[in-house]
């Protein structure tokens, strides 16, 4: 029976959510392709992870070694290449994360398998695997197909799949000895630095007023902050605002920022790039204001206003103030 690999991503003792999303999708694919689900776990201590992973996979291949406590580009790549060569999984799923983006392409070159990156979906059509991706910064969807191959590699978009299907499997744990003939590590972990710490924890707020590129000028930050304050909300933002140094990073919502789950998320002048949208998956109600009626944010928002955000902000100020 064929196998589908899901490479587990974890950090500082916790399994990353993307892993559960991949399990969800792999479940589906395993059924379609009549494959078994194999989780691949590299770690220094299997303790925090293995019991939970066993419920999501048919087998868990564990490589436990102190050198694997943190992501190691060289070691993970080498071990995975050997594993793939050994077991020939039909598909290998990795998260499209900083680490996944470091690993996936390298695996593609070494294994010769085609790679589809940042996939929104993986499907099988006419017996052939295909992937759905976004191009032109989210404006267009693309379906990719592959040259015939023994295996296929996919890096998966965070937030593309749900993660709440409870695991019902009973995976067997397979220990794999840490190979002793691996080359020297050329990338070595030093430490983690939390850039998200700050005065304000947007992940705890009930109501976020989030601003994006549409606010145009740094000078308008003051107005937005005042609005957030007057509405009893917390100010948040998308990446461009932080890139321009208009707000500190701890206000940033999105893949490289924080994931938030407020009751209401008011997005002002945010286009809705997926990296940002990925951070608001947990929001209760999303209200978006953007003067471009085709802005991607309107696809994910619950309510939308197609208008100049400043006009709406003024109107809100008036209604609250007066």
């Amino acid at each position: 029976m064929g196998e589908i690999f899901v490479v587990v991503e974890h950090r500082q003792g916790e399994i990353r959510e993307i892993t559960y999303e991949m399990f969800w999708k792999a479940d589906e694919l395993c059924e379609t392709l009549s494959c078994s689900l194999t989780a691949v776990l590299f770690c220094a201590d299997r303790g925090p992870f293995v019991d939970e992973i066993r419920t999501r996979a048919d087998r868990v291949i564990v490589v436990e070694d102190e050198q694997l406590g943190h992501y190691s580009g060289d070691l993970c790549r080498e071990i995975l290449v050997r594993l793939i060569e050994q077991r020939s999984p039909v598909m290998t799923l990795l998260g499209h994360t900083a680490w996944g983006m470091d690993l996936g392409p390298a695996l593609a070159v070494r294994t010769g398998f085609p790679l589809a990156a940042d996939c929104l979906d993986v499907l099988v059509e006419d017996g052939r695997p295909k992937a759905i991706r976004q191009i032109y910064t989210g404006k267009i969807f693309s379906k990719v197909s592959f040259a015939e191959s023994a295996g296929y590699l996919f890096t998966m978009r965070a937030g593309a799949f749900p993660q709440d299907r409870a695991g019902e499997r009973q995976g067997e744990v397979m220990d794999l000895e840490m190979p002793t003939d691996l080359p020297e590590e050329r990338r070595q972990f030093v430490e983690y630095v939390d850039t998200g710490a700050g005065d304000v924890d947007i992940t705890q707020a009930d109501f976020l007023v989030s601003i994006g590129r549409g606010i145009s000028e740094e000078d308008n930050i003051g107005t937005m902050k005042a609005l957030a304050d007057s509405m009893g909300g917390v100010l948040a933002c998308s990446r461009p605002v932080v890139d321009k140094n208009w707000l500190p990073k701890y206000h940033q919502v999105g893949t490289s920022g924080k994931s938030v789950k407020p009751k209401v998320y008011l997005a002002l002048g945010i286009s809705g790039a997926f990296q940002h949208v990925a951070g608001i998956g947990g929001a209760g109600t999303v209200i978006a204001v953007n003067k471009d009626k085709k802005a991607p944010i309107f696809r994910v928002a619950d309510y939308g206003v197609v208008d100049d955000l400043f006009k709406i902000v003024d109107a809100l100020k008036e209604k609250i103030g007066g």
Binding site: E217, D219, T223, D314
Partner: protein, 674 residues
């Protein structure tokens, strides 16, 4: 003279003439040397063609140099200066005469001994008193009133020179007065000399003779000292002001090319001002000529709102730097390590000063000696752009201008989409080979910014109502480049110009009418075209005056005031057309702000301010201007420029002044009456 002339007398065995000649030769040699040293600065500078239109230059020299038309804009200072200036003109002859006497060259005798001499004597005396009076008043005024605009100027030098001039007057008065007493001459009416004589009436003949000689030589020495002192400070303007006015810029509002005399911008070694010698000789002459009066900074709107810009200080800093780099005495510090590679912007002038300017032209309009600022500032910006030292916010905007022909990055193909909203007004989108009467140049904001699209739409409506045959270029149009040039991206500006000019060539039209004054200014002044270009206001005024449009409906009952936009008013002297247009609207009550017409206070600008915040600002220019409108008694500001409108609307919103003031575009107002 019926008594012994001081030069005829002997001192220490030598004839006075010897002393006269010694003083004369040494002083003139020294003076010549200093002037030659100063000339080195002009020689090292870049070319600047200032010899065209001689008739006009002479005319302006008379108006502004001799009649000093700009001086009384600051009334008392102006009047005082006029007195002193005309004193210098009149007394010049007297000084030359006195010097000639000391040299034993009786060249002026025929003139001075005859009838003319008698009349001149009275004139000279009258002016000596006037000048003395003016100097004393000026000294008192400086000491008591202490105008703000003198901050940063060499106030000590001002007092010194006023003192020297007073001393020159007094020594001549005493010389003449003592002379009169010795000769017992009482016929001629010589008020100055008589006054001096009055104070000396008790003196003995011996004393009078001594005083007579002493005052003469003191006068001569002071005169030559003063002459040599001039090139060393702000009073160099006494020599350079008239030439500076003669060589003034004839085309207000235009920007100089990257380098005069170089056709192809690519052949220019360094773009903009990197080192001191990159300035042109006329710009150097400007540095020499600054009188430190501070009127420029006093009128500068950026200065008024707390930005780091003081035009006067830019001139003075550069002048002082130049004088240090080319010292009169001592080795040329041009090769001094510290100075050698000094970057003008960065080491002498700060970038913040340069980016604070809105190019409104108030400084240039005010300067009595016609010092130019805008070209220098743009030249400095050019260098900042070339060396990537511009505000980062420009990067994306300039990239958009280059790639899409507008600052928003919106597709060029959509440039005429605004026309679709105008259901009832068919707007012709011109193509190659078309023929039309009026080419309506909409420009980028009119095409893409909703607030300004409204103005463009109103213009289109007005044109249609008047039955004008007009068309727009639509996607063929790229930005006029007005802002791009004034941001300092000269290469990109040339690219935009080339693109538009190519398009113009392929269409036949009689005139261009623009939405905004900035496009109007740049098409007329910066483009190598000869088509007639008009802003919509004068064009619609002509339609009104020819009867093609008749305002009949009354305007809303408000008190209106008209804000002169910098690029319609100051830079193009169009003040009356908009007022005539407004006055023809039924029921319109118009009041004038204090600072109106060529003293209009910039709204914030239609260039850099759109993409760059100046941190040090205490208040927005627009907010300040709205206060002025309120003070004039108005509750509605009428604008003829979309950027003014945007700034005022913004300021009203931020200040919560919706109940006190509103803004209306002139075209919208006009249309409402048709």
């Amino acid at each position: 003279m019926p008594f012994v002339h001081p030069a005829v007398d002997t001192y220490l065995g030598l004839s006075g003439y010897v002393y006269g000649w010694v003083i004369f030769v040494i002083s003139l040699s020294l003076f010549g040397f200093v002037i030659y040293q100063r000339y080195q600065i002009l020689d090292a500078a870049q070319p600047d063609p200032r010899f065209s239109s001689v008739v006009r230059r002479v005319r302006d020299l008379i108006t502004y140099g001799f009649i000093q038309k700009r001086q009384p804009r600051y009334l008392w200072a102006g009047v005082l200066h006029l007195m002193i200036f005309w004193g210098f003109i009149v007394l010049g002859l007297r000084s030359v005469d006195l010097v000639m006497q000391g040299l034993g060259l009786p060249l002026l005798r025929p003139v001075m001994d005859g009838g003319f001499g008698r009349v001149y004597g009275i004139l000279k005396d009258a002016f000596e008193l006037i000048v003395l009076f003016a100097c004393i008043w000026a000294i008192l005024r400086r000491a008591l009133v202490r105008p703000d605009r003198y901050e940063g100027s060499h106030k000590g030098e001002a007092h010194l020179v006023l003192g020297l001039i007073s001393f020159l007057m007094i020594t001549d008065m005493v010389y003449e007065g003592s002379g009169l007493l010795m000769v017992k001459e009482s016929g001629a009416w010589l008020p100055a000399s008589r006054t001096a004589a009055f104070f000396l009436r008790e003196a003995s003949v011996q004393t009078l003779a001594t005083i007579h000689n002493l005052s003469y030589w003191l006068h001569i020495l002071t005169f030559f000292f003063f002459l040599n002192f001039l090139p060393l400070g702000k009073h160099f303007h006494i020599i350079t002001a008239l030439p500076n006015i003669f060589f003034k810029k004839l085309t207000k509002g235009s920007i100089k090319p990257a380098r005069w005399g170089v056709e192809n911008i690519e052949d220019v070694e360094t773009l903009g001002i990197e080192k001191f010698e990159d300035f042109t000789w006329k710009q150097m002459l400007d540095f020499f000529t600054c009188t430190e009066c501070g009127r420029c900074s006093d009128m500068c709107p950026a200065n008024a709102v707390g930005r780091p810009l003081s035009p006067k200080m830019i001139t003075l800093k550069l002048r002082d730097y130049g004088y240090e780099r080319y010292p009169v005495f001592g080795t040329s510090r041009k090769t001094n390590e510290k100075n050698k590679n000094a970057r003008i912007v960065g080491d002498v002038i700060t970038p913040e000063e340069i980016w604070s300017c809105t190019t409104c032209g108030a400084c240039e309009e005010e300067c009595p000696v016609f010092i130019e600022y805008i070209d220098k500032i743009i030249d400095m910006r050019r260098h900042l752009i070339e060396t990537s030292r511009n505000p980062k916010t420009f990067n994306q905007v300039l990239m958009h201008f280059e790639k899409t022909g507008n600052p928003f990055g919106k597709p060029a193909a959509k440039r005429a989409d605004w026309v679709r909203e105008l259901g009832d007004v068919p707007v012709r989108i011109l193509e190659e080979g078309d023929e039309v009467d009026v080419l309506f140049f909409v420009d980028s904001f009119g095409s893409y910014d909703p607030a300004v699209q409204a103005i463009a739409s109103n213009i289109a409506r007005g044109l249609q109502m008047a039955g004008v045959d007009f068309g727009i270029l639509g996607p063929l149009e790229v930005d006029s480049g007005h802002q791009v040039r004034r941001m300092g991206e000269e290469g990109l500006f040339q690219f935009l110009v080339e693109t538009n000019v190519e398009t113009f060539k392929n269409i036949r039209f009689n005139r261009i009418v623009t939405t905004d004054p900035h496009a109007f200014n740049t098409l007329q002044k910066d483009y190598p075209i000869t088509y007639e270009v008009q802003h919509y206001v004068p064009f619609f005024l002509s339609l009104l005056e020819s009867g093609r449009l008749k305002p009949s409906k009354p305007v809303e009952q408000d008190i209106y005031t008209y804000h002169d936009p910098c690029y319609l008013g100051r830079h193009n002297d169009i003040y009356d057309a908009p007022r005539r247009l407004l006055r023809s609207l039924p029921g319109l009550k118009l009041v004038e702000m204090d600072r109106s017409r060529d003293r209009s206070f910039c709204c914030g600008g239609g260039d850099i301010i759109l993409w760059h915040e100046i941190e040090q600002e205490e208040m927005r220019m627009a907010a300040k201007r709205i206060t002025m409108a309120g003070e004039a008694g108005a509750n509605t500001i009428v604008t003829a420029c979309p950027f003014c409108m945007i700034h005022f609307e913004d300021a009203i919103k931020t200040g919560g002044l919706e109940k006190e003031m509103r803004v209306v575009d002139l075209m919208a107002l006009f249309l409402s009456t048709l």
